[in-house]
Subunit: 341 residues, 2 copies
């Protein structure tokens, strides 16, 4: 039953005013009379006038839209980041366009084009697993749209980035392991192209060294996050001549699969192996025998801060190149005390 949508023109002609007057009145422009404003607003309401953002965007040459590119919304961690980003964006009058790469480089490239085509005013991006070359991203930036990396940043790019301080987190995790008497500590990591993997690794290695434990390459495995890959990494660790008694994992998902693997394939050892992951997944509370601990990150805040930094770049385009690097702390959250036993 669509009554035709009212426009500024409709209001103007009805009130025998000019469109520009109406436009100003609606936006409370100072040099419009109070009486006129009142008349305009009354009629606007009556006609259910809703400003046409489409036209405004076009006119203003700004989309008032910010883009966010994540691997997947099925990952609770990124959803939290989207939430933080979205909240910030909405509070500042921006819409958000979400894209999911599903870890595909091809999809990432397409989405970047979509973003460009939609003239997003800025973009934050957590690169896909396949993104080892960043030509497409650099081209995007060269087209004039500022970006901020978040969570994952290519290891060979110096650019604005907001992420967790996973290095310090790993240091903490190792210290906790050691305090419980562990000396043989394994590590399941992810793509070595991300700084967030490298930093975890450095923290792991430096943590060991700090406690006088020699670094042993065979204790480090890599996974691509599929259940299969997680299981595989765990198996290789357990099949060492001297398997680890403690394992740090890139993220909770990996840790949970590692735990499943232990329970299914190495049940006799399952309870003696200490596990720490990243993320503090809320579902862990439902486990009767939870893993040892998890490094709680702050994805929501990372989303917010990314938005803040991005909007700054949007509003104050810099020609000088001084990459901002923001790191938010992780906090070790211990679950074992929650055990009923």
């Amino acid at each position: 039953m669509g009554h035709k949508r009212a426009t500024i023109k409709d209001i103007a002609s009805e009130l025998k005013l000019s469109p520009s007057t109406v436009s100003k009145a609606l936006r409370d422009h100072p040099n419009i009379g109070v009486v006129t404003k009142e008349r305009v607003k009354r009629l606007a309401k009556q006609l259910h006038f809703v400003p046409n953002q489409t036209a405004i965007r076009f006119k203003q040459q700004r989309s008032f839209t910010l883009g966010i590119l994540i691997p997947s919304m099925l990952d609770h961690f990124y959803v939290a980041a989207v939430e933080g980003f979205e909240k910030f964006a909405y509070d500042n009058g921006y819409n958000v366009l979400i894209g999911q790469s599903h870890e595909s480089l091809q999809r990432e490239k397409e989405l970047l084009l979509t973003m460009q085509s939609n003239r997003v005013d800025g973009l934050i991006i957590a690169i896909s697993r396949e993104t080892v070359d960043t030509t497409h991203i650099n081209e995007f930036v060269r087209s004039g749209i500022p970006i901020v990396y978040f969570m994952r940043k290519p290891i060979n790019e110096e650019y604005h980035c907001v992420c967790s301080d996973v290095y310090a987190g790993a240091i903490d995790a190792i210290a906790y392991f050691v305090s419980l008497g562990h000396k043989r500590i394994g590590f399941i990591n992810a793509s070595s192209f991300w700084t967030t993997s490298r930093d975890r690794f450095l923290g792991y290695r430096d943590g060991l060294i700090q406690h006088g434990i020699p670094f042993d390459k065979s204790l480090v495995q890599e996974s691509d996050f599929t259940q299969e890959s997680n299981f595989h990494a765990m198996r290789r660790l357990m099949q060492l001549n001297t398997p680890p008694t403690a394992i740090l994992s890139f993220k909770d998902q990996v840790m949970l699969d590692a735990l499943s693997c232990l329970r299914r394939e190495f049940p006799s050892k399952a309870d003696s192996i200490a596990l720490i992951g990243y993320g503090a997944n809320p579902m862990i509370q439902y486990l009767e025998r939870p893993p040892l601990a998890s490094l709680k990150e702050q994805p929501y805040e990372i989303g917010q801060k990314s938005g803040l930094l991005l909007l700054d770049l949007v509003n104050h385009p810099r020609t000088d190149y001084e990459p901002q690097l923001v790191k938010l702390p992780c906090k070790l959250q211990v679950f074992s005390t929650l055990k009923q036993r």
Copy 2:
């Protein structure tokens, strides 16, 4: 380092052609010469020309954007629906604007305005818990934008809707309980304003009746999904003179909290009480002693079908009022066989 963005005009003047020729050439319009097309496309590529969707939208009086309004992205179930919807939308050349009501009516109203302001071509919506009056939604529809309810539909509205066949699901659950010897079966439901609650309830009641079990009002509790509320509902059931031996829950989240409640507060009975929820949350696989079962729904497909139905409404505006009701089956997924014991 933004080289100014190239427009159709730039290409035209560079090639001494008219903008309209360029426009047509870029879109492979039949009556443009092959040679011209080639020249145009070459230069377009060279100048990194990306069509300005903002202008196209404005010109076409269509946003090529579909809206989706959900309670929260923290709920895995709705994320899956978003995925399905998004996939469908992208495949059909549409963007997606996501809004989260966080179960707030106020927020829902604001988001509806945002959607209207952005001139989305259509919208699918799962109403908030607070939405007992639908004036704002009806007004939205009256403004000319078609909508499709999904998952949750107001009980007093006859309108297009895509959701799970939760009635049949409840019937199946009850039948399964009965087959295991249960006769005293409880139910934790949600807002009675949604058809999806009513249908669960009817399935629960009819299921009981089918097996000759009298309906007992005291066995039905309501929860608002907060952990506190879930625990409270569970406690009330357990504190009955004759507590249930089996409980159907509105969704897995409720069931998991119910399970926690049992283990913490009624440990002696915890293992003898059979639980079934809705959703088949993938995290359940990590539980050592999982609940009995869950009704696996098809949120991804619901998202897709909602998109399909919506796009049909967008492209073929109907004046005649014939609400479509699409129901997708639930499938009982049994977890107990996964138990290690």
